[in-house]
């Protein structure tokens, strides 16, 4: 999860209404490439369950997942939990509950019910942000499944490479982008964002294909 995502995640208090949840969640999930399910009744039902859970536990835990009591695990099922499970959800085209569906799904009813988690090896395009979320000449951290990725924008081209510098594991997303080169913030190693290549031997980093469509940036990954 990127720091930006962390910053805008919000805690709800008892007394919150379904409309409050909707008003907060719709723009939040839109930045991740999702929207509410097109089945209104279903959405209302899930939100009603979330509000019951909020009253009982003090947070909007997922109605379709079980809280194990391990705070670290349970944190990953606070709604909307998309940032933590974006690889699986992109493959299923919806979140587990089906409260949210990918923006380009026209009929959410078709996706209700079935929970088909992707097989390892499946290729999937995972939305990571909207085009406008990343200004030209900048690089930011995105998390896809378990992978930490530096997403760079050069002009109107987007590139995704491993976020981890192979010198001493500095975060490339915090580096400076000059042309097609990102400079690691720790000791200045330079990587070509197009290829992951660097001048240092055997230290090239992995790159990922990027697809831009419908105003969204997708990183293509293989499910692990």
């Amino acid at each position: 999860m990127s720091d930006e995502t962390r910053a805008i995640r919000r805690r709800f208090v008892p007394g919150t209404t379904a409309d409050d949840l909707k008003a907060y969640m719709a723009p939040f999930v839109a930045t991740l490439g999702y929207k509410f399910n097109t089945e209104q009744d279903f959405v209302d039902e899930v939100l009603a369950s979330e509000l019951e859970i909020l009253e009982a536990t003090g947070d909007v835990y997922c109605p379709c997942r079980v809280r194990t009591g391990d705070p670290k695990e349970d944190f990953k099922i606070i709604c909307p939990c998309i940032p933590f499970h974006n690889e699986q959800f992109a493959a299923m085209r919806k979140c587990w509950c089906g409260l949210f569906i990918l923006e380009d799904v026209e009929d959410g009813a078709e996706l209700l019910g079935v929970i088909d988690e992707p097989e390892p090896g499946a290729a999937v395009d995972v939305p990571v942000c909207r085009i406008d979320d990343l200004p030209r000449g900048q690089v930011r951290h995105v998390k896809v499944g378990k992978s930490d990725i530096a997403l760079a924008r050069v002009g109107d081209e987007f590139f995704a490479l491993s976020n981890v510098c192979l010198h001493a594991f500095g975060p490339l997303s915090e580096g400076v982008l000059e042309g097609y080169e990102v400079m690691c913030p720790w000791h200045g190693w330079r990587y070509d964002v197009r290829t992951g290549g660097t001048d240092h031997p055997n230290a090239d980093v992995k790159t990922y294909p990027v697809v831009v469509r419908d105003g969204l940036v997708f990183v293509s990954v293989t499910v692990r």
Binding site: F42, E45, V46, S49, E52, I53, P63, C64, R65, V66, R67, T68, W96, C97, G98, L112, G113, V114, I115, D116, E117
Partner: protein, 81 residues
């Protein structure tokens, strides 16, 4: 054939699944995992992980077959509905 359902009291798919089974007069055992406490809850979560490989609900067990989510088509096939 024995049918067992692991469900959450809060989960819409679980409700849909149970309603569907009820409407078709299917006899089944149901465990509402979120309503259990302590060791019982931990044991039920372990069981769900073991049979389904995750913690998605509902988990419907028909004989040796496991269906995760409200997969009506699959449940129909397994129960011959």
């Amino acid at each position: 054939m024995t049918v067992k359902v692991y469900a959450l009291s809060t989960c819409p798919y679980c409700r849909m699944t149970r309603k569907y089974l009820d409407e078709n007069n299917v006899q089944y055992d149901v465990t509402e995992v979120d309503l259990l406490e302590g060791d019982e809850k931990a044991a039920a979560i372990d069981e769900v992980r073991t049979v389904s490989g995750g913690t998605s609900f509902p988990v419907v067990i028909v004989g040796d077959e496991v269906v995760v989510g409200f997969n009506k088509k699959r449940i129909m096939e397994l129960l011959g509905l």
